[in-house]
Amino acid sequence: MSALAQVLDELRTKSADRITAWQTLEARPARFLPFPEWLPDRLRDALASRGIAELYSHQRLTADLVAAGRHVAVVTPTASGKTLCYNLPVLAGMLARPESRALYLFPTKALSQDQLAELHGLVGAAGADIKTHTYDGDTPASARRAIRNAGHIVVTNPDMLHTGILPHHTKWVRLFENLRYVVIDEMHQYRGVFGSHVANVLRRLKRVAAFYGSRPQFILSSATIANPGELAGSLTGEEVDVVAENGAPSGTKHFLLYNPPVVNAGLGIRRSYLLEARALAAAFLARNIPTIVFARSRLATEVLLSYMREVRPAEPGKRSRISGYRGGYLPHERREIERGLRTGEILGVVATNALELGVDIGQLDACVIAGYPGSIASSWQQAGRAGRRSGESIAVLVADSSPLNQFMVNHPEYFFGRSPEHALVNPQNPLIAVNHLKCAAFELPFAEGEGFGAAAAETAAHLDYLAEQRILHKSGNRWYWMADAFPAEAVSLRSAATDNFVIVDTSEPKARVIGELDRFAVPTLLHEDAIYLHGATQYHVDRLDWEEQKAHVKRVDVDYYTDAELAVKLTVLDELAAEPSVAGSCATAGLGEVEVRSMATIFKKIKFHTHENIGWGQIHLPEQEMHTSAWWLTFPQDQGGLRESDLQGGLVGFASIIHHVAALHLLSDVRDLHTAVQVKSPHTGRPTVFVYDSYPGGIGLAEKAFEIRRDILKAGLAMVSGCPCGAGCPSCVGPQAEVGAGGKAATVRLLKEALRAG
């Protein structure tokens, strides 16, 4: 019996009560199609020499569409040979027209290095003179000129395209004059704020290409999402054909939904999902089964990493075989870890979704997902890290006690019902769009009548606004960039804030930078006396220099971590839509623009393992302000004799449940939305619950939520009514301690009330 089979057996016998669903996806044979006739012999031979005699059906379909001049998006799961889908038609096109150029965009740097190796192999085997180069922040200055002039295929990422290539397009004349293909890998990564930025970067790319007389064809690849064609269309601004059928084979895969046992039935408290995830991962690692553990936050990653290292300590004189992997790590650290995973020196890795991407880390057999990652697409993507084309593999999703997680493990039919999410982008977010309008004007002046992702009249109004701000100057029917600034540098594609804080380790006499953090996360993670975790090492924040944007930290070894609380004040600035109440006595819904002021107030020290609260402190940091969109529900003042405290609890419970249900229905991460409760709102004068986008200017979530509010309310009511707890638990309205004894009943009442409004 294989090691994996043993663990499966154990799970089946000993943990049956915790496993709410056990889905076995049977091994699936490949569906092949012959090489297309247009494929040049050289490529045919190159493929044959690499052991490829025919194509998977999706590879053939994609390649045919590209060859026919269409924009194509191909939807494929991990390890289904998607790179051939675009490499084949691109290389064939270049053999036919050697002056052609292609741009490959990957969401991360590490990924592009792997792709490069594969591409080089194919080009080499075909004996073609097609030069492929990576152009990113790590490319040495000495190599840049050669790449700009001679690279046939330039591999880069959206950030580099944004700051390094487009604003200097005159140095890339050869590329832009002959740009025939733009390949966008991992398209599903480009959603939300990041996707909205990237859609604008692509508009700029098309604009610059048009200036040099080229109109590239887009080839996109995506993990399974509900709306690949729509997303591809929003990103590229083109009509895109979709290839969704996967012809690649796969081995048997077990997907388990796992719910930690209830430890306090009265309070509805379950055993920590982190501890459960640890136990599961430990069982795999103990049998030398290569395992990946996904956690949702940096904090959870680090906590799990220290747990895992306790389970499997490093052998004397050797490096630990367990490693962490997340956003705050510096590039060379990440590269080292990826290499260790491929060679097997590293047996287990604890990662955030940074590893969700198609980074080639070789064959892993087990995957533990600690907490629902926020979307079904992400869950499958993460589970896809375990198991490739043959052999058995397992993925376990461990639920935490939040409503969304509980909903998922208790409704496996929903989870497995193949109902992947929509990936939403809003390229028209005013802040994002106007920032890229600046970048675009820097790159090339705007002519009258030219639209930038909007009607010409709207673009003109924005350009006039920028001229009024003395950023542009209108002269001879064109708007020219006229500020002494480089706008792309002020716009970060990855985060809301343009300015990051630097984390400086002062443990040694020679201080060194160990990472950075975006501004909005600083008050809760890097306040003074916070324990900041990086690479499973604990750092105490000695001093936070707000002006200089620097946190000075020192290594420490303590048995607790810190968790900060945020106080939020919300003001309505502008009401864009309201749904009037029918008789004046029932609930009303509104949509508008709000100002949110948030301030970190206190932090708690939480002991490892027991998770008990062992102390607290105050945080003294300036308030942060954000303007965004919100959807709100206002209730009549008089709730039929509902006691004040119950009303309060009901509002909190209502906010909590619609927050989670809205995230579920909007197919977005829970963290992309926030809620605020006002018992007597200054805007409406009545009890009001707000749900708002957590990005300045909004990314369209609140608008969408307002639109589908009835669905959200209905689902929320079903979830609360269907929860077996007595008076509230973390899996529905929140723990009783937070909503009070009458909180659950009041929540149900408010939900019904809101539904009555229509």
Binding site: P167, H168, H169, T170, K171, V173, P430, L431, V434, A441, F442, E443, L444, P445, A457, E458, A461, H462, Y465, E468, Q469, R470, H473, S475, G476, N477, R478, Y480, W481, M482, A483, D484, A485, F486, P487, A488, A497, T498, D499, L573, D574, L576, E593, E595, Q624, E625, M626, H627, P696, G697
Partner: protein, 450 residues
């Protein structure tokens, strides 16, 4: 006409237009609020609203404020201001014509590491541009391009102005006509800034880049000679400290982008008069700076007129140039540098300059096998490590240690020098070599006896 032109039901259209306009106004209002909030968050002051346009703007076009003419070209119009000066015109201490004396060796040295592209600067174009900023990339516009060249007995300066960014194509084409006949470019920091910027502009305008590839960027030569003495090698500082040019009411370069914006906004040419003056003086400074640098290369001892320290820097620069040219062992090349050091020492130098000169001199003696002279220099340096500074004392001590280890075989003395050197701060590689030497010397002292 398209079919939507027969607007019979125009009333609806008007309503629609109003609706669209309202929606647009609402979007703009939202954008303003968002941008202001973002600026506030970033701690940037809000952009001040521009003042109302000035009343008399119309009456001050550029040609009424700056002498020159509006050119009408095939690619549109632009403004040209021409100035002609006799070559004998003194800009500071030297006449412009001094630059015409530069020949062969001097030009090679000045344009190092690239070639000058011509044998004499009479066929060069001197270039300096005024821009809308320093950011680089495609969004920076060279709104005023100043070109200067010798023409017969005169020096001519053409300054081309874009009266708006739309006049760029015309300016670039005019500049092309002038620059393409020339054999080399002379600039100050033009390799990093002016020329790449112009190249970008020509690419954007889809015009051929007209400037010759030969390029003398005076920043490099200036740094070699004056860096050790002057805290800054900016052109303005060199003008003041070296060329003897003093500007009155000069506009600081950092204000230039703002002034151009003010001109664009108001159309009032008077804003730009100081910019033209500033650019003209910059071009003239290129000429006398080139002349002076050539003169120093030709007659290094003329540096004594300024400061003997310049002579030391010059000597070192000549040595480096000789090394790069592969003729470091030619006695003529060595003599020239040695003379620089000797004369500078004789003229009197500050302690650390003197030490630098002495060390450089000693190494040249060593190279030529003039061991006694070299020894005298080293001993002098070793005697005064406090004054000479470790950077010079340490190599001298090491040379002495080597000498006594290998030539006189006085191991005790060599060890003493080595230990003295080890007490002074130095790099890790040097430290390793020294500890190695000390160990070897110690064992030699013990070894044969034991």
């Amino acid at each position: 006409m398209p079919d939507d032109a027969d607007g019979v039901d125009g009333v609806d259209d008007v309503d629609d237009v109003d609706g669209v306009a309202d929606a647009l106004a609402a979007k703009l209002a939202q954008l303003r609020r968002l941008v202001e909030a973002a600026e506030k968050r970033a701690g940037r002051p809000p952009v001040p609203q521009p003042p109302p346009p000035q009343q008399q703007a119309e009456s001050w076009p550029i040609e009424s404020a700056v002498h020159g003419t509006v050119l009408d070209t095939a690619r549109g119009s632009c403004f040209l201001s021409d100035s002609v000066l006799p070559s004998s015109h003194r800009h500071g201490r030297w006449p412009l014509a001094l630059a015409l004396e530069l020949r062969g060796d001097e030009l090679d040295w000045l344009s190092f590491p690239t070639g000058a592209g011509c044998a004499c600067l009479d066929r060069a174009v001197f270039v300096d541009v005024e821009t809308t900023g320093l950011a680089g990339g495609t969004g920076t516009i060279p709104f005023l391009i100043g070109l200067g060249f010798f023409e017969g007995p005169a020096f001519v300066i053409h300054q081309y102005l874009m009266r708006g960014p739309h006049e760029e194509a015309a300016v670039l084409a005019e500049v092309s006509a002038r620059a393409s006949e020339r054999e080399t470019v002379v600039s100050f920091n033009g390799k990093a800034f002016d020329l790449p910027l112009l190249e970008t502009r020509y690419t954007l305008a889809r015009q051929r880049f007209p400037f010759p590839t030969g390029h003398v960027d005076l920043l490099f030569g200036a740094r070699r000679v004056w860096r050790p003495r002057l805290e800054s090698c900016r052109l303005a500082n060199l003008e003041y400290r070296v060329l003897g040019v003093s500007r009155h009411d000069d506009i600081p370069g950092s204000l230039v982008p703002q002034v151009y914006q003010d001109y664009l906004r108001t159309g009032d040419g008077r804003y730009l008069a100081p910019v033209f003056e500033h650019n003209l003086l910059d071009v003239l400074s290129l000429v006398t700076l080139a002349g002076r640098l050539g003169q120093l290369r030709r007659r290094p001892l003329s540096a004594l007129e300024d400061d003997p320290a310049d002579l030391v820097a010059l000597g070192r620069s000549l040595e480096r140039a000789a090394r790069a040219a592969g003729c470091a062992d030619r006695p003529e090349a060595q003599n020239e540098s040695m003379q620089c050091y000797r004369e500078a020492l004789a003229a009197g130098l500050a302690a650390d300059d003197a030490a630098r000169a002495l060390l450089a001199l000693s190494l040249l003696h060593k190279r030529r096998g003039e061991r006694d002279e070299a020894l005298r220099c080293w001993e002098q340096l070793a005697r005064g490590p406090g004054r000479a500074g470790p950077a010079c004392a340490r190599p001298a001590l090491i040379e002495l240690a080597k000498h006594h280890e290998h030539v006189t075989r006085d191991y005790a003395l060599a060890l003493g020098y080595s230990e003295a050197a080890a007490r002074l701060p130095g790099g890790p590689a040097e430290k390793d070599a020294l500890s190695h030497r000390i160990r070897r010397l110690s064992s030699r002292l013990r070894g044969p006896a034991a």
